[in-house]
């Protein structure tokens, strides 16, 4: 791999975070930002979704002389098939996360381990309609309810859907026939469906995407958060430092990557135990710190009020994970899901950073696999700690350090959830609703999801967020987009200066920034709970709210499954680049036009931040008008 600076004096991609852009440009190690240019020639067939590689007769492509693949599939079939397969894979990812999360809740109950929020537990028990002998039994029962739904066969509807989802939405979903069966079964079924010479009905496949979206959104997103709250604590609003300044070289620093906060329950407490801190001190450090990156970092940040000792802060989103590791002060990586970039492998090799993988789905080639296993967590935990201490000893002083101590800021607002926000407003949504009705807040925009680099690192996300707040639209974020926006200061109270006059006044009065961080992409589900509760108070269905969503720089298949949920909820969803669908007139039309008649939602593609903001504002104004506000 390239480590010589000569080889790397090539262009790195632009970033909304200018200091980070400069830092990365100077790095002697190769990151994703360096690789963007070399990959800038994109296959046009791939971009349009009309390349099919399913069978040995292929790869087939749609061209004027050959508009059908060898099997006879036309562009509509090929695109819909590719799209459904991606949504199924994405759904699978989130269902894997909620499955593990439910299992850990169950273990917590079985082992009578620490429960940080009984309030969260009781809330779930109420929604599910379960009772238990004690709180531990309740944990088991709640978890079992979730798991039994996930494990149902796909031809059995999941029980909790009606309990979790907004009633008007459920009614519509039943009309459309998209109530999901067992979540894992659905993923399985749709993988089968999209295999060779099976389903070739593009509309049926798109409808299946909606079904997958519902199971993804209710279970993978919403429930994961609520289950995590029980064991890990409710989110609390607070100010927190963000960016690479959070990294303190005096500690043994562990970078965490993934989405499964529940897999860290044991170790994050263990690292504070006296005997463990002693190990750190013996090695020459003050103790251990967890450094956040990717969604699990956002999870820790969200609940950071409960972890102020062990958690330093969230350094940044997925696409600066390589830069964070390159600073030299990170001694180990604990990974359990995405985004754990393959690009970290050579960097960890070069800088002797110990990689430990807790869930095989996120295994790096040079990582040690120590699967998280509740029964053996103590012995495993000690082993992990010892290996990390050994890595610290071996590497410090032997590898170059290039800290970035003035990157980011010290006062980003974090910890926003449907619970903490409502509490902040005085235990009611009324203040927020009043502000919206009065036009002080024109509407709500969820700028959520991933960070991507191919067209600029967070550039569209940042531009869009700035344009929206300038239009008095309150921006709610969740996912790696949050990581990008907080590092450029949009979540500090000072950012209110960038907002339009009305929103600025509101922010200053309440002492909040114009962009509110709900945390990991899982928390998009929380955002949707907020929307549901507000809709309920107003007595309307979700498509009627002055609410828009943007997954401007959506990255992966999970984002598409997420997006399918947004469509099922009837919300307008903006994407910066099309999800490999434009080769099919049918798929494009269904997603961008016909969907309105089906669920009320639709996809809007716009690579330009200004023009996207204008479109979204227009939609919000339309919805306001329809509500007579």
């Amino acid at each position: 791999m390239n480590t010589c600076t000569d080889c790397l004096s090539r262009n790195t991609c632009a970033s909304a975070d200018k200091p980070m852009e400069e830092y990365i440009r100077q790095l002697p190690l190769e990151t994703a930002h360096h690789r963007v240019e070399g990959q800038s020639t994109k296959c046009g067939f791939g971009l349009q979704g009309v390349c099919c590689r399913l069978c040995a007769n292929g790869p087939c492509r749609v061209t004027p002389k050959s508009p059908r693949g060898i099997c006879g599939a036309n562009a509509d079939t090929i695109v819909a098939r590719n799209f459904l397969r991606a949504v199924a894979a994405g759904s699978g990812c989130y269902i894997h996360v909620v499955e593990n999360t439910a299992r850990q809740l169950k273990n917590t109950g079985l082992y009578k381990d620490k429960i940080r929020s009984e309030k969260a537990l009781n809330r779930l028990a109420e929604i599910f309609g379960v009772t238990g002998e004690d709180k531990y039994d309740l944990c088991v029962k709640v978890a079992d309810k979730v798991l039994s739904d996930l494990y149902r066969p796909e031809y059995e509807p999941m029980e909790l859907v009606e309990k979790l989802a907004y009633a008007p939405r459920v009614k519509r979903w039943k009309e459309l026939g998209i109530m999901p069966g067992g979540a894992k079964g659905e993923v399985f079924n749709n993988v089968v469906k999209t295999s060779t010479n099976l389903n070739s009905d593009p509309v049926e496949m798109l409808v299946s995407c909606l079904r997958l979206g519902i199971s993804t959104g209710l279970y993978g997103l919403q429930l994961t958060n609520l289950l995590n709250d029980v064991v890990l604590g409710d989110p609390e609003i607070r100010m927190a430092p963000v960016g690479m300044n959070v990294i303190d070289p005096d500690y043994i620093n562990i970078l965490i990557t993934g989405h499964q906060h529940s897999l860290f329950t044991y170790i994050q407490d263990r690292l504070l135990d006296e005997d463990v801190v002693a190990k750190a001190k013996a090695a020459g450090a003050k103790g251990f710190k967890l450094v956040g990156c990717t969604c699990v970092g956002q999870d820790l940040q969200l609940r950071g009020a409960h972890y102020t000792e062990i958690f330093d802060g969230h350094a940044g989103n997925n696409y600066i994970s390589e830069a964070v590791l390159s600073c030299g002060a990170i001694d180990a990586v604990l990974s359990e899901f995405n985004c754990t970039l393959p690009g970290i492998e050579p960097i960890c090799d070069e800088l002797k950073i110990k990689q430990i993988c807790l869930d095989v789905v996120a295994k790096k080639a040079n990582a040690e696999y120590i699967p998280f296993n509740y029964e053996t967590r103590e012995a495993d935990g000690d082993r992990i700690i010892d290996e990390i201490v050994a890595a610290y000893k071996e590497r410090r002083g032997n590898v170059p350090m290039k800290l970035f101590t003035d990157h980011g800021n010290k006062n980003s607002l974090t910890g926003v959830s449907e619970g903490s926000l409502k509490a902040f407003l005085g235990d009611s949504w009324k203040p927020l609703i009043d502000l919206i009705v009065a036009g002080k807040i024109k509407g709500l925009a969820g700028v959520v999801g991933c960070s991507s680099v191919a067209y600029g690192h967070d550039t569209l996300t940042a531009e869009l967020a700035k344009e929206l707040i300038a239009k008095d639209i309150l921006v709610l974020t969740a996912g790696c987009s949050s990581g990008g926006l907080e590092n450029i200061g949009l979540m500090t109270p000072e950012a209110a200066e960038l907002a339009g006059p009305n929103l600025k006044a509101v922010c200053k009065q309440l002492g909040i920034p114009p962009v509110l961080n709900f945390g990991p992409c899982l928390a998009i589900g929380r955002l949707e709970i907020v929307a549901t509760e507000i809709a309920e108070e107003l007595g309307v269905d979700l498509p009627q709210l002055p609410l828009v969503l943007s997954a401007a720089q959506w990255l992966e298949e999970q984002a598409l499954a997420d997006g399918a949920f947004a469509l099922a909820l009837g919300l307008p969803l903006h994407l910066g680049v099309p999800p490999f669908i434009t080769g099919s007139g049918v798929v494009t039309k269904v997603l961008t036009e016909d969907m309105v008649g089906l669920t009320g939602g639709r996809v809007i593609v716009d690579p330009d931040g200004k023009s996207a903001a204008n479109q979204l504002e227009a939609i919000i104004e339309e919805k306001r008008k329809a509500l007579n506000i």
């Binding site: 971009l47 492509r61 749609v62 061209t63 004027p64 680049v577």
Partner: protein, 148 residues
């Protein structure tokens, strides 16, 4: 004059050049590979890639020949060798679609348009400041512009 030099050993048959050519000449007012109509025979590529049957590919591109067969056959003056830049230029207004050029090109490069009113032939992307779109799109650098 400039000519697109071809190194067939580097060609992988990915057809990025084909798509770039289509994109460069599209007439629907759109822009970007996402919306390029991949099924429109009126906007076919001026170049074509043929699998050579031995695992390799033969890229067939207009050579803008020193002594062009096509311009030598043209009875309307539509095809002319521009002596300044060396390109064989095509004026579709003059063309009477007699197709003698199609018949005369010994490499079989020109194609006829679906409406049978013109030919489809490489124009070296004279309308683009950056030059031929195909060359810029090749991820293997199998084609490059050189001065001859």
């Amino acid at each position: 004059m400039k000519r697109i030099f071809i190194d067939p050993a580097k060609c992988d048959g990915c057809k990025n050049c084909t798509l770039a050519c289509m994109e460069s000449h599209r007439q629907d007012g759109g822009k970007g590979l996402y919306t390029l109509d991949l099924t429109d025979p009126a906007n076919q590529s001026r170049n074509f890639i043929v699998a050579d049957g031995k695992g390799g590919y033969a890229p067939v591109f207009c050579r803008h020949c020193d002594v062009p067969d096509c311009a030598g056959a043209c009875m309307s003056g539509a095809l002319q060798k521009n002596m300044e830049n060396g390109l064989v230029e095509y004026d579709k207004e003059k063309c009477a679609a007699c197709y003698m050029c199609v018949m005369s090109c010994r490499y079989g490069v020109p194609a006829i348009s679906p409406d049978r009113k013109r030919i489809i032939k490489c124009d070296f992307c004279a309308h683009l400041e950056e030059g031929p779109a195909c060359v810029r799109a090749c991820p293997k650098q199998a084609i490059e512009v050189r001065e001859v």
